[in-house]
């Protein structure tokens, strides 16, 4: 019988890495939770000490100049979602980004007009 470690560490699970070095070991972010399709937008604010930002923070800020979702940012900067969340929460604390909740947070909460727009959009693909 495989040990617990072996069960978790197969090829499908991906390589074992330490992406949290970037977040100085933090695995949870500060402040209010946000959805993975929440929209992130830069506020245009300035940070007093740019040295406080890691290059990854800067990359995230550049992507969020136009409203961009958390998942799109994670995908484009090629960092795991959890790491990107921590970076985003840092930027929010510094007042550099606003994170806006998606259209729905509960089942069956998307309004009919949006659903119809989705339907038309799909048919036109």
């Amino acid at each position: 019988m495989p040990s617990n470690d072996e069960r978790w560490l197969d090829a499908e699970a991906g390589p074992v890495v330490r992406p949290y070095a970037l977040t100085r070991g933090r695995t949870r972010h500060a402040g209010e939770a946000f959805d993975l399709v929440a929209t992130v937008t830069t506020t245009g604010g300035r940070v007093a000490d740019p040295g406080a930002l890691a290059p990854e923070h800067i990359s995230v800020l550049q992507l969020a100049r136009v409203p961009t979702t958390v998942v799109d940012i994670a995908s484009d900067v090629d960092l795991p979602l959890g790491v990107v969340r921590i970076l985003l929460a840092d930027l929010r604390e510094l007042g550099l980004v606003a994170i806006r909740a998606p259209v729905a947070a509960k089942p069956r909460q998307i309004d009919r007009n949006t659903l119809r727009e989705v339907l038309h959009g799909l048919r036109a693909l």
């Binding site: 074992v16 890495v17 399709v37 979702t69 995908s75 959890g82």
Partner: protein, 202 residues
Amino acid sequence: MAYGHYDAAGMAARRHRAIKILLAGGFGVGKTTLVGAVSEIKPLRTEEPLTARGARTDSIAGVERKTTTTVAMDFGRITLREDLVLYLFGTPGQERFWFMWDELALGALGAIVLADTRRLADCFPAIDYFERRDIPFIIALNCFEGARRYAADDVRIALDLDPDLPIVMCDARSKESAKEVLITLVEHVLSVADEPVSSSGI
């Protein structure tokens, strides 16, 4: 627009709507194929701290040592309009990844349960999950070559599904077919959505 002026209000007014659709199903049922057929595939990694039972935690000077496993997810994006984007998330079927489902499911438009008629039982956990959380879903039968074609009604009985729940045959490799699956889901969600409550008080 004034040059160099950051128009934050204008940006906020044009609301960017991001909508999640989940794609569930057993391993090897064609989730990756379906996402690729209909959307722009994007790499997405998520991660999970490994806290194996019995593993010793080394805490050195307050620095948390964490071993993390990254999990590649099926993730695709369909831009319907500049301000309306669908995100498809393939939810890994194995139990050990279920920690991700709750978050993915939060506020999702609905779910597609992709099934293989040769291994129908693989989609039981997904069906149970969506039923318990009142997330609208449909069944899409990926018609693998060589697989026996079952009538939708036989599958409905085998899976003990509601008579109104759509079951569609699909070819996960085909864009048109994958599109039809998505359309069927949205039509289903519209059909079960509550009619807007009249504000006139009548």
